[in-house]
């Protein structure tokens, strides 16, 4: 279980550094491809989620703001190209909290929920809706052609819906944001929805592995880089026996990896590069993770059986 342990270690370190690293004066930037929520106390966190910066810069129609956006977008892109959605599987604080809830479920020997293909297909649109909310509503706020009072509340609309806004500050014992904002009808709606999503994510993560990740718009944004990202999940189709194990271990239930029979690159949209599939693949070299084309981790028959007998 080497790779799982490594992943847990990195998740814990990242969580501490990102959420409490600010105490040491560390500040990494406002372009982190990870849920380092802007609602966590500014003295504590050591950066800001790119999605928050993206929305707020879109909501100001000034040249400075766009220039700034271009700048952080560049840094963001570089970070994502470097390790792709490994940001989600190995670093994201919300991902870490979900994994902790998942661990509790596992320790209780409770099974997990599986969504059928049909349900998964229907839910696929959610992340797109969230992304459009995050991209379009701030533009309305910057050019409030109609209903300006409503538009003004949409400077960072997704953040109000995001479970990170409510869950992450809670971890730092800050409950200020866990409340309905009664300022006006728009804020009430947004915060109520956000609270409902947060409750769903907490309960969901106790029943289903990485419950939130398939709906995350930041994850979707990250997945756009998967073709040019340095890290890739690759499959040797001839070696694959289609045993379905990779699908059963996949926290985000990606079927295409075992079904793929032609392409070598099997880094699919939802893949968080947790590499569990590689760890559990019983065939030598059927699955591997590569960095710039170099194998960094490969499935082996020996590795599969190591802890199982």
């Amino acid at each position: 279980m080497k790779i799982s342990r490594l992943r847990w270690t990195i998740l814990i370190i990242s969580f501490v550094v990102l959420i409490f690293g600010g105490l040491t004066g560390l500040y990494l930037g406002r372009f982190l491809p990870s849920f380092v929520c802007c609602y966590v106390d500014g003295h504590l966190r050591s950066g800001t989620c790119f999605l928050a910066s993206l929305q707020s810069s879109l909501s100001y129609s000034s040249w400075e703001s766009y220039k700034y956006l271009g700048e952080i977008f560049l840094y963001f892109s570089l970070l994502v190209i470097l390790i792709g959605r490994a940001w989600c599987g190995w670093i994201c604080p919300l991902g870490f909290l979900q994994d902790v809830l998942d661990l509790i479920r596992k320790k209780l020997h409770l099974g997990y929920l599986n969504f059928s293909e049909g349900i998964r297909a229907k839910l696929r649109c959610i992340k797109w809706i969230f992304l459009f909310v995050a991209l379009l509503l701030p533009l309305w706020a910057s050019f409030p052609a109609f209903a300006p009072s409503v538009a003004m509340e949409f400077r960072i609309p997704f953040c109000h819906l995001c479970p990170g806004k409510y869950i992450l500050p809670m971890v730092t014992a800050d409950f200020a944001s866990v409340a309905v904002n009664y300022k006006n009808a728009t804020t009430i709606t947004l915060t109520i929805l956000g609270l409902v999503f947060s409750a769903l994510v907490i309960v969901g993560a106790l029943m289903k592995r990485r419950f939130w990740c398939p709906y995350c718009p930041l994850g979707l944004l990250l997945s756009f880089y998967r073709k040019i990202s340095f890290i890739k999940l690759k499959k040797d189709c001839q070696k694959c026996t289609m045993c379905e194990i990779c699908y059963n271990v996949c926290p985000v239930e990606i079927q295409q990896v075992f079904k793929e029979r032609e392409k070598e690159d099997v880094t699919f949209t939802d893949c968080t590069l947790c590499l569990k599939c590689v760890e559990y693949c019983p065939e030598d070299g059927a699955l591997q993770a590569t960095f710039l084309g170099k194998t960094i981790y490969k499935s082996t028959s020996k590795g599969f059986f190591r802890d199982k007998i």
Partner: protein, 427 residues
């Protein structure tokens, strides 16, 4: 009545004789690994001595412990062990039994089914008599109807296997069938399958698979340290042994083979053609094809038989210890990677064969078709096509369990092996 008794006696004599002939042929070889003795004794107990108490002792069966007969490789042994019962695999390979079965099933049925029905109907061979229930998966047409015929003589549970693996619905349905089987087993043994018991039986089977894969690796190496006919027998013997004991013996054999390899003690010429047996499974005591191939100077380095290399190859992937996850892992193990030609589409099998050809550096394929096995014969077309692209010769051998065609087969196999030899020399 007297007539029947005589016939039964003749049957037993015949069976003992053919089993002994095959075993003698193996034991006569000066290169037989010592570790093989254990597996040869299993076959002796079952087919030569045919003694109930001997078999029960070997299976470490306590007085009330249930014995479950299984057919094909889709019956989850993990569940049987977890319920406190013992599985034995009953697919028949005896010529004598198949002649008895000849009268009970249609003429065009394959000899595996004929022999299985023959064995069961006579009630002579103890391993068939002492089973409390027999599980028959609905794989090919013959096996499916066989279940119906067997139910005249013994308690049969049919296990429905979907024939299309790709659809999510079929997989879900399969999981439901496995869950139902779990309930039936619990009812039969009166013991509830608990999480811990299932966990340890999964571990036990994984142990057997680990050793089976070790043997597989050993056979990949260019230095031949065990003949194919021996390795195949060792795997076949798993049918009549407990997973735990078999694993121990296999570990011993593997250790011996590895030390042979390290000491350079090879049992066949390094230029000998490396043959893969594809198609229908040779089942003991029908050792006709494996014996002939190796008598002619080739080495069987791999097979894709459900009684041989494929028997214990694909493991269950368990990520957590919840009942739900374990059941899903077990269900997936028995369905998804299985490349039995009763599935369609069965493209996976072609990939598996290509991979074997690469891994084992195969020089030629003997495609074994048991008369009546339409589905393996069907897939020959595709196998021949992909192997032609890879420039790997394929020889189709259609036969049954009868010894009549042995000389004719010898000539054909001899010519094939010789051709492989010349092809290798040419480079």
């Amino acid at each position: 009545m007297d007539q029947l008794e005589k016939r039964k006696a003749r049957f037993v004599r015949g069976l003992v004789c053919s089993a002994e002939t095959v075993l003698a042929e193996l034991t006569e070889s000066p290169d037989l690994p010592e570790g093989m003795g254990y597996f040869i004794n299993i076959m002796k107990d079952v087919f030569v001595h045919q003694d109930k108490s001997l078999i029960s002792t070997r299976l470490q069966r306590t007085d009330n412990q249930k014995l479950i007969g299984t057919y094909c490789i889709m019956v989850p042994e993990e569940l049987i062990y977890a319920a406190g019962a013992i599985p034995v695999r009953l697919c028949g390979g005896s010529y004598e039994a198949s002649s008895i079965g000849d009268e009970l099933v249609p003429r065009d049925t394959c000899p595996v089914v004929k022999a299985s029905v023959g064995f069961t109907s006579l009630g002579l061979i103890s391993i068939y008599q002492i089973c409390d229930a027999v599980i028959v998966p609905t794989t090919c047409d013959a096996k499916r109807k066989m279940g119906e015929e067997l139910s005249k003589f013994t308690e049969v549970w049919m296990l429905e296997v979907p024939h299309i693996k790709d659809s999510e619905g079929a997989r879900r349905q399969w999981l439901e069938h496995i869950k139902a089987l779990k309930k039936d087993l619990e009812k039969l043994t009166g013991k509830k399958i608990r999480r811990k018991a299932l966990q340890s039986s999964i571990r036990m089977i994984a142990g057997a698979q680990y050793e089976a894969r070790r043997l597989y690796e050993i056979r990949k190496s260019a230095a031949t340290v065990i003949m194919g006919r021996e390795a195949m027998l060792a795997l076949n013997a798993y049918s009549y042994d407990t997973a735990l004991e078999w694993t121990k013996a296999m570990a011993g054999l593997n250790d011996e083979l590895e030390s042979r390899r390290d000491n350079g003690r090879v049992v066949a010429d390094s230029n000998a053609p490396r043959v893969l047996i594809a198609g229908c499974p040779p089942i003991f005591p029908n050792w006709k094809i494996p014996s002939l191939i190796e008598e002619m100077g080739a080495v069987i380095v791999a097979d894709e038989s459900c009684m041989g290399s494929r028997y214990l190859y694909d493991p269950a992937g368990i990520t957590e210890k919840s009942m739900r996850n374990m059941m899903a892992g077990i269900a997936a193990r028995y369905l998804m990677p299985c490349v039995c030609p009763s599935f369609a589409p069965n493209e996976d099998r072609l990939y598996r064969l290509l991979q074997m050809v690469d891994e084992f550096k195969i020089s030629g394929i003997i495609y074994h078709v048991l008369k009546g096995c339409v589905i393996y014969d069907f897939e020959l077309i595709r196998v021949e096509k992909i192997m032609k692209e890879k420039n790997i010769p394929v020889l189709r051998i259609e036969t049954d369990y009868s010894p009549e065609d042995i000389e004719q087969l010898r000539t054909r196999i001899e010519a094939f092996v010789e051709m492989l030899g010349t092809k290798m020399k040419k480079g």
